[in-house]
């Protein structure tokens, strides 16, 4: 592209310089020439560049006007002149070419075959409605793979809305040379969008094909990483299996894995499989033996499980062993877990304190919504008589009694949390409460972001199927076929007339004038030099 621009620029510069070229001599004819003695040749240069020659050159400006007209003609959407209302019935049939149209129903017919029959019906109806009026039709295919998402995301940000919006957009925009569309019919397996009532919109009909059919699909995968109580990563895979007969085959980096599916308690159509201590690397998921599987593009998927590292802590707490999901590290930048002695250290730390008995164990202040208080029963807490401590410098209270002494405090920088020391032998409520506070604080300080897993669906031959999770929604209701007699009932909106034929005609006319002008000029020049 840059070379085209450079070459065009050089060509323009050359043309301009050529028009600026001016002879420094005059072609002279005198009647007494034969009486002249031999004249000396001039030492001056023959030609020079003159801006005035460019400015005053009518032919140059004429050529520039021709060029401008031709460039404008290349932008047919840029210039229009008026609008014409036509009696023509032009059907723009937009066919959904997305992968879900391969779905088959109970009869074994694919939705493409149903769409083919629908298009034949639409054409017959169009011809019948048009009657004596001119009739033409064109078919435009829109596939999810070919969608330019940024074009439509402004209006429809949700991915599942991209394809319907694109179908509608194609119905409004697409035009075939020689067949200006007056009506659009969208043939798809997607539920219809609400028809637009815009005055300038082309009338459109939404023709949905394909009866609802059950579909088994690999829908999502999630990674539960190693943490406080877990010693390894767990790969959770969710499948949609309305029939409950599907088998999930998982092949990891170390070979086939056993994946037992369990019913999801909230959605009976979903089943889940959990693979513990999964090894990092590529995984292949395959769904087989499903009964009533309408769409096969979502039965095979690949994912890459990333390496999950354990959190590193400097564990100096004697009353509790290091959790299996954490790694011991004595470096100064590791999280320090220890009993508070003296002042709090200037590092990331979880500190337990022995403190003093609270003068009044009633809660005077607590930070509502703080994650440190998750699952904590404050009524039980008040009965436990846990120790308190004075608020150290740099800390803010999270949970404090009525005298201002704190049970729970947090420092923002460097992050540190104060919690009461563990009472592992002090009865069930005290033990549980101190453990909740301790592990809430530990989770808060060492919590790792869960790696996101991306599924890539493919066919058995390895062909990628983008957006297969959206394509497999085959259980949606089927809308009744539209009333095709509406074709032509509403007058077609005026179609803007393109200006490019006039621009080209004007350019040709000016070109003829320019050629005639140049011819006259050359003839005159030839006569002078003849």
């Amino acid at each position: 592209m840059i070379w085209v621009a450079v070459i065009s620029g050089l060509a323009c510069a050359g043309a301009i310089m050529w028009h600026m070229l001016d002879a420094r001599f005059t072609e002279t004819r005198v009647s007494m020439a034969r009486f002249l003695p031999a004249l000396p040749e001039t030492s001056a240069r023959r030609y020079r560049f003159r801006l005035t020659r460019l400015v005053t050159s009518g032919r140059f400006w004429l050529r520039m006007v021709i060029l401008a007209l031709l460039m404008l003609a290349l932008l047919p959407d840029f210039l229009t002149i008026g609008a014409a209302r036509s009696e023509r019935v032009g059907l723009n049939i937009v066919l959904d070419m997305s992968d879900s149209m391969r779905s088959t129903d109970a009869s074994g017919q694919s939705r493409f075959e149903l769409a083919e029959a629908a298009i034949a019906t639409i054409l017959e109806a169009g011809e019948a409605v048009a009657g004596a009026r001119p009739f033409c039709a064109s078919v435009t295919g829109v596939a999810r793979q070919a969608l330019s998402v940024p074009d439509v995301t402004n209006a429809t940000p949700r991915p599942e809305n991209v394809l319907p919006a694109a179908l509608r957009l194609a119905g409004q925009r697409a035009a075939t040379p020689g067949c200006a569309a007056t009506h659009a019919v969208i043939v798809t397996d997607l539920p219809p969008l609400v028809a637009t009532d815009a005055e300038d919109a082309r009338p459109e009909l939404w023709y949905q094909v394909g009866a609802p059919a059950p579909n088994a699909a690999i829908t999502s995968a999630r990674l539960d990483g190693a943490g406080l109580g877990l010693t390894g990563t767990t790969l959770s895979i969710t499948i949609s299996d309305p029939s409950g007969t599907a088998t999930l085959n998982v092949t990891g980096p170390d070979g086939p894995l056993r994946a037992s599916l369990e019913q999801d308690l909230r959605d009976p159509a979903l089943r889940r499989a959990a693979i513990e201590t999964a090894t990092a690397g590529p995984y292949l998921l395959t769904l087989t033996d499903a009964t009533g599987d309408a769409y096969d593009g979502d039965n095979r998927a690949r994912l890459v499980l990333p390496e999950v590292t354990s959190a590193r802590v400097d564990w100096q707490l004697a009353s509790l062993p290091l959790p299996a999901g954490l790694a011991q590290d004595t470096e100064a930048n590791a999280l320090l877990v220890a009993s508070l002695s003296g002042g709090p250290p200037d590092r990331v730390a979880l500190l337990t304190f022995a403190g003093r008995p609270a003068a009044n164990p009633s809660i005077g202040f607590f930070q509502e919504g703080d994650p440190l208080l998750e699952t904590l029963n404050l009524d039980v807490f008040e009965t436990l008589d846990l120790p308190v401590t004075d608020l150290p410098d740099g800390f803010v209270p999270i949970l404090a009694d009525t005298s201002g002494a704190v049970w729970l405090a947090r420092r923002l920088s460097p992050p540190a949390i104060l919690v009461p020391e563990l009472r592992l032998s002090g009865g069930s409520d005290a033990r549980n409460t101190t453990l909740v506070l301790f592990f809430n604080a530990l989770r808060d300080l060492v919590e790792l972001p869960q790696p996101r897993l991306t599924l890539t669906w493919e066919r058995p031959d390895g062909t990628p199927v983008p957006g297969a999770d959206l394509e497999g929604a085959s259980t949606r209701p089927l809308a009744p076929a539209p009333d095709l007699s509406q074709i032509g009932s509403r007058p077609a909106p005026p179609e803007p007339l393109p200006a490019y034929p006039w621009l080209i005609a004007a350019a040709l006319l000016l070109l003829a004038i320019e050629r005639f002008w140049s011819l006259s000029w050359r003839r005159a020049a030839a006569e002078v030099s003849a």
Binding site: R29, S31, V528
Partner: protein
């Protein structure tokens, strides 16, 4: 300039008539002139008295004058002008070089001069012969009189104004003119006289046109100041002319070269004058010369033409 203006006399007919009458009264009857050769005749216009000589027609005796002057032997005879119609032949040099300079071509000046002379001749009842030299029309001179002479002159002017073939070498055909010319005539040659003439065709024609009662008036046209101005304008490339090519070189014309060219031209004209002179040649020394930068050629013609020297011998009446 429009084509219509190019083939119309720039000077109004009534001004030309007035000018012709004034010339007839003022121009002296002696010296050079077309009408010196006119003879006495039978017209109503009195010419002179003479003493009776034996053999004179007795009917011409002016008895009253003879009674006043003297005795029987002193009879006075009245003589009258011979009412011969004059024939004016106008020849225009039609070479390509006559179409120069482009701003005010010599051929245009010659055409206007022809149209004015035709107008005067028509008013005087003279017969007119219109012809060309060095032109495709050389073999078809026209002999006309009265009003049709105007149309014939305009038609000839249109033919002369057609763009010339710059490369063609000039060639004159004179036999038709010679055949057409009466024993008494005045020929006006409107030319710049810069053609070569080495073949002697024009010289022979002019000698023929000076025989007997005939005479030739050269209406010399001189555009040298204008052409010199063109040559002084700066670097130039000389375009080919009349069979001569000057190459593709860009040249300069220094003053010395222009002076030399002027000298060459003067020598050439003097040589032509000697060659053409046969006793009936009138070639005034002062040509009709237009300035270096002529304003409106038509305006210039109106101002200068009537004072051209070659008109005086044409319009005198002896």
């Amino acid at each position: 300039m429009t084509t219509s203006a190019a083939v119309q006399p720039p000077i109004a007919p009534h001004l030309l008539r007035r000018f012709a009458l004034r010339m007839a009264r003022k121009v002296p009857t002696h010296g050079l002139g077309a009408h010196l050769r006119r003879r006495g005749g039978q017209s109503m216009e009195f010419r002179e008295f003479s003493h009776y000589q034996p053999g004179d027609d007795i009917r011409r005796v002016d008895w009253m004058a003879s009674m006043r002057v003297g005795g029987r032997s002193d009879l006075l005879m009245r003589h009258f002008e011979a009412e011969e119609r004059r024939t004016l032949c106008i020849l225009i040099d039609g070479r390509a070089a006559m179409h120069l300079p482009v701003a005010a071509p010599k051929v245009q000046i010659a055409i206007w001069a022809m149209l004015c002379l035709v107008e005067i001749s028509v008013e005087a009842g003279d017969q007119v012969i219109l012809g060309t030299l060095f032109h495709d029309r050389d073999g078809r001179p026209l002999k006309v009189s009265g009003a049709p002479a105007r149309q014939a002159a305009q038609a000839l002017a249109r033919e002369l104004l057609t763009p010339p073939d710059w490369r063609a070498a000039p060639m004159a055909r004179t036999s038709a003119i010679r055949r057409l010319m009466p024993p008494t005539s005045t020929t006006v040659l409107l030319t710049d006289a810069l053609f070569d003439g080495a073949d002697g065709v024009v010289t022979a024609l002019l000698a023929e046109l000076q025989k007997g009662y005939r005479e030739v008036v050269i209406g010399a046209l001189d555009a040298w100041p204008a052409e010199r101005h063109l040559l002084e304008a700066g670097p130039l490339r000389l375009a080919p002319l009349e069979g001569t090519s000057f190459g593709d070189a860009v040249l300069e014309a220094p003053q010395s070269a222009l002076d030399m060219a002027e000298t060459n031209m003067a020598a050439h004209l003097e040589r032509q004058r000697r060659l053409w002179s046969r006793g009936g040649l009138v070639w005034p020394r002062r040509p009709l010369r237009w300035p270096a930068e002529p304003q409106d050629p038509e305006e210039w013609f109106r101002a200068e033409f009537l004072s051209a020297d070659f008109l005086r011998p044409l319009l005198s009446r002896a």
